[in-house]
Symmetry: C2
Subunit: 223 residues, 2 copies
DNA sequence: AGACTACATATTACATGTAAGTATGTCAAG
DNA sequence: CTTGACATACTTACATGTAATATGTAGTCT
């Protein structure tokens, strides 16, 4: 009868957190930019407490870095950091996919399908930001396939950081299309419950991304 | 000239956090026990702000669970949770050890040696808590071997949770000795830079722990 | 110019105030 | 003995106050 599903979980902290989270991943808040608690609280018209807690959350998630008595700044990853994140993600997502090929439910596959669909649309419409958003979603879903809470959570955190890390690295539409076809290969292997094939497809996906990053790194080192 | 290495990093938050962290892992604060901010602040003689932030940290680390408007309690893991944590740890530590066999420095090996030594002493003196502490340290070092920041951090967080999760599960000295010999096998393989052998030794280690947990689980299900 | 100092400004870190929500105990009714 | 109403105590969530600290800037001396 009462639609008050979660009337009381409406905490300011969560709203502020989600807002900052979105602004960081969308590039509205740039890497290195200070997250001044009084400043943000003024802009949002709330007190400093919920803002402080939201910023702490971001720090815990690895999306902001804090120095004692100097405050927090939006995390600023170098290409080396991006490669390290990629290495960690490869490990976690590989395991998730292997487990997922065994454990995934119909609901999991349905969710994957939907994301792949919206990804396809983004490509057709050359919607860069849209693709990145569904890419984020796709990899987070891979994490949850494992049906292992810790694994899923870490995959999500790392993918967020990875997105922020690669934000500066420009990517062409051609590369996005490559990524999409690789996503399709992963999905098809998963759907046929073929663990090894899914793992192989995922490794290919990461291999290409890594090589792309390494090329960038090489370019930057010889200007 | 100036010895003020970090005079100013002495924040109350950090002290409160470390205290609570220690008390949780040492079993002084029991799983399920509420972490009341005003209560703790009264006991420690500090205001509520640093306590609140420390508790939030613990929640972010997975050592405490929070429900909106109900506060946080010390994380309470069941045997199923323990198995999931073990699964995640196996994935991360396996990767760390494989990378570590290639990347580990002399300093890494020295640190490992020292921990193994203190572990041996704990066994000889039948010092249960002492062993658990050095076991914690050993596995965290395995994580840092990868020289991958994200990987190392996650290995540490998971091991802390795992310790808390298995705290209720009694373990005999015999099992600890088994664990120690397995640690030695891992170390020796690492020192000879044999990635596959190190990985195999680690998997054996986790296999035994997992089987031990599964036995417990089976026992509990048929009382 | 360059470096140092003094001052002005803003922020952090901690403390405290308070309305609203949640848990707990008591007691009467069924 | 259990159930539900109500009063009570405690806590969370948010707001705000403030001293210590960091940062930016102008001015001074070399």
């Amino acid at each position: 009868m009462k639609p008050q599903v979660k009337l009381h979980s409406e905490r300011l902290v969560d709203k502020v957190y989600e807002l900052l989270h979105r602004d960081i991943l969308s590039g509205k808040l740039l890497p290195g930019q200070p997250l001044s608690v009084p400043e943000i609280s003024r802009q949002l018209g709330v007190s400093r407490s919920p803002v402080r807690e939201a910023v702490l959350q971001l720090v815990a998630d690895g999306l902001a870095w804090e120095e004692a008595r100097k405050g927090a700044v939006v995390a600023q990853f170098g290409l080396e950091d991006a490669l390290q994140l990629l290495e960690a993600r490869e490990v976690l997502e590989l395991a998730s996919v292997r487990l997922g090929a065994v454990r995934a439910t119909d609901a999991d596959f349905a969710a994957l399908k939907q994301v792949l669909h919206s990804q396809q649309l983004s490509i057709q419409k050359a919607n860069f930001r849209g693709y990145l958003a569904s890419d984020l979603e796709f990899h987070k879903l891979l994490g949850s396939l494992s049906h292992n809470h810790a694994l899923g959570r870490m995959v999500g955190l790392l993918k967020d950081q990875s997105l922020l890390a690669q934000d500066s690295v420009s990517r062409s539409l051609v590369q996005l299309e490559l990524g999409f076809t690789e996503h399709l290969a992963i999905f098809e292997a998963l759907e046929s419950r073929n663990s090894d094939e899914a793992a192989e497809a995922l490794l290919q996906h990461f291999k290409r991304i890594r090589e792309s990053l390494e090329n960038w790194l090489a370019l930057l080192r010889q200007p």
